[in-house]
Symmetry: C2
Subunit: 358 residues, 2 copies
């Protein structure tokens, strides 16, 4: 029996409980292990939930219980999520997370601490929801010179752009539709201004190259200024407008940017619609690979957390392609060299929009 | 230093040597290991190749060398590829392979032997070329109830169908074009009659469910009888013709089939063109996921072999979600239940073509 603790019982946390409950027999038969959610840390009580009696409000109960070998952090926000994660690692517990803010801000420290303690810090759910992109990219990067990553990493903005493209809505009306469906927050800034996407491409870049570029440095343009006319003009050129995050390895470092682009019909990202995410990876050995799936939502994201949890006992005492990241803003290249820009315009499409920073 | 032996120095084997040579520094820095190709088993000599001196003609040299911990089998054909693989496992060596024929025929025995000896038998390169589908599906299947796998698994037939669709060629002319480009063999039967695809879907099914259905049982229809008129009729309905392999979990077992289908524009497999492969996986937790990339070719396939090789020292003494397959023809369901058929016609498309068996 492997005892785990969930930190946060919102959408993702309750989804993790649901996956372990729904797929209990399958998980036992496929992994050979039983998993028990021993504690749920949340400020609230959940008296009507079958696991309501597992709720605790003091993190020290989890930290001091030697039976807890895995902590799943799904609280959101930097603090106390980071502090609890670091404390759990220092106590020799494995930590998995869906919290991209923490990974993008403190990945180097958390991965180093995990390595020093002989435990693991895993974050499959931080990018791409149910798409197994972190694990795939980790393994691809081991033997493959990856020269470009380009992706649609935010389902909310892709839904808005799809509504504008397909139904001719204005940005404001498409945003209202996304909010009505629960895809966008009341304050949509993290999504529509590209900050969420920016953090995700910084994480993917760190996975591919071992270098975390501080997200505050990275030029990021959101979709707030995209008009119905921009969409029609792109369509007239055989393109669809997408919020594209890109990382390109250049001779001087890593070019990184998030910006709306008119993507050509010949590029596989053209057809990614609604709340789906798509991630294109180009390597010198693999050629072009694309991963496509639900980038958000309760069960896909919870499933990614669960896959990290299941991976821990399966690989006890091993550290496949251990991640250790260096934070290095000097590796940041703000402009693409001309020959790479020309190739990119040919293969991907045309940048749109105005400047902002995340 | 990790010493490896390559069995077979054709397209894939020489590609593996090229990847280790081209990406040597990257592999050392990402994995922490140096890999040395100590032997190459082939009937031929390669006096002009930098590794020409490593060529041997007697497998026993490899088998009896305790320095060899990893054997990469890329010979093709069932024998002696199977026999050499089994002998290597029995000698306590890890085996990786690109040989789908061996995996589809003898997977249960080879995986069992590897488990009993505490070594690994890996076969990422057997399906989907450079797409990391075996590893992704293995991990997805651990916590996710997978109810359908549908894919374009053969680049040669997809190239032929793309030529017919885009350029209006007949089957015969499109096949001749594929042969001229080296995409199809002089005897194209394994590709165009669907036998290659059939073996690959049997492997994916075994990865997902642990049950290997003997490929001889599985209904398989190739593309030889597809006419330009079939392509035009599909196009008139907003579809493109693809050779689709499918596995669907039903209450009575596993439905499996390879057949040409008119795939709807709304399905992500619609847009997979040329020699690319695409694999759609539907799970109760992950939702729909698609993986897309070069399904064949020297470097993508060699890269998949290399990724398996790199994985072995990284996970010494661990067996992530160990595969053990049962061969079970009674699990085979030859017809889809009506409600699943209706859903499938809605979401995927319409089957075409005449019957055959692989």
């Amino acid at each position: 029996m492997i005892n785990i603790a969930l930190l946060g019982f919102g959408t993702v946390g309750s989804g993790v409980a649901e996956v372990f409950s729904e797929n209990r027999d399958l998980i036992r038969s496929r992994t050979g292990f039983d998993f028990n959610i021993k504690y749920i840390l949340d400020l609230r009580e959940f008296p009507d939930h079958p696991l309501g009696s597992r709720v605790v409000h003091d993190f020290n109960i989890i930290l001091n219980d030697p039976e807890i070998s895995i902590v799943a952090e799904m609280m959101g926000g930097l603090h106390p999520a980071y502090d609890f994660s670091m404390a759990a690692l220092k106590a020799g517990k494995n930590v998995v997370t869906s919290n991209k803010a923490v990974v993008a801000a403190f990945g180097p420290e958390l991965l180093r601490e995990a390595a020093d303690r002989g435990v693991r810090y895993l974050f499959e759910a931080s990018v791409g929801g149910g798409i197994p992109i972190i694990r795939s990219l980790t393994e691809l990067a081991a033997g493959n010179d990856i020269f470009e990553i380009a992706g649609i990493l935010n389902g909310t903005t892709n839904y808005i752009l799809t509504m504008m493209f397909k139904n001719g809505l204005s940005f404001a009306d498409a945003l209202a539709s996304a909010q009505a469906l629960g895809y966008a927050e009341a304050d949509p800034s993290a999504d529509v201004d590209g900050f969420d996407t920016c953090r995700k491409i910084c994480i993917l870049t760190a996975v591919a190259y071992g270098t975390l570029i501080p997200f505050e440095k990275v030029e990021t343009i959101g979709i707030r200024d995209i008009t119905a006319e921009d969409i029609r003009a792109a369509e007239a050129q055989g393109c669809s407008v997408k919020l594209i995050a890109r990382a390109v390895r250049t001779p001087d470092g890593i070019y990184l940017k998030t910006e709306p682009m008119a993507v050509r019909k010949t590029n596989p990202l053209y057809a990614i619609e609604d709340v789906f995410n798509g991630i294109l990876i180009r390597g010198n050995v693999s050629g072009d690979l694309m991963f496509f799936g639900k980038g958000a939502g309760k069960l896909p994201t919870a499933g990614a957390v669960v896959s990290d949890i299941l991976d821990i006992p399966a690989r006890a005492d091993s550290q496949p392609h251990r991640q250790l990241w260096v934070r290095d803003e000097s590796a940041y290249v703000p402009e693409l060299p001309k020959e790479l820009l020309d190739r990119s315009l040919e293969e991907l499409g045309i940048p749109l929009g105005k400047k902002a920073r995340c």
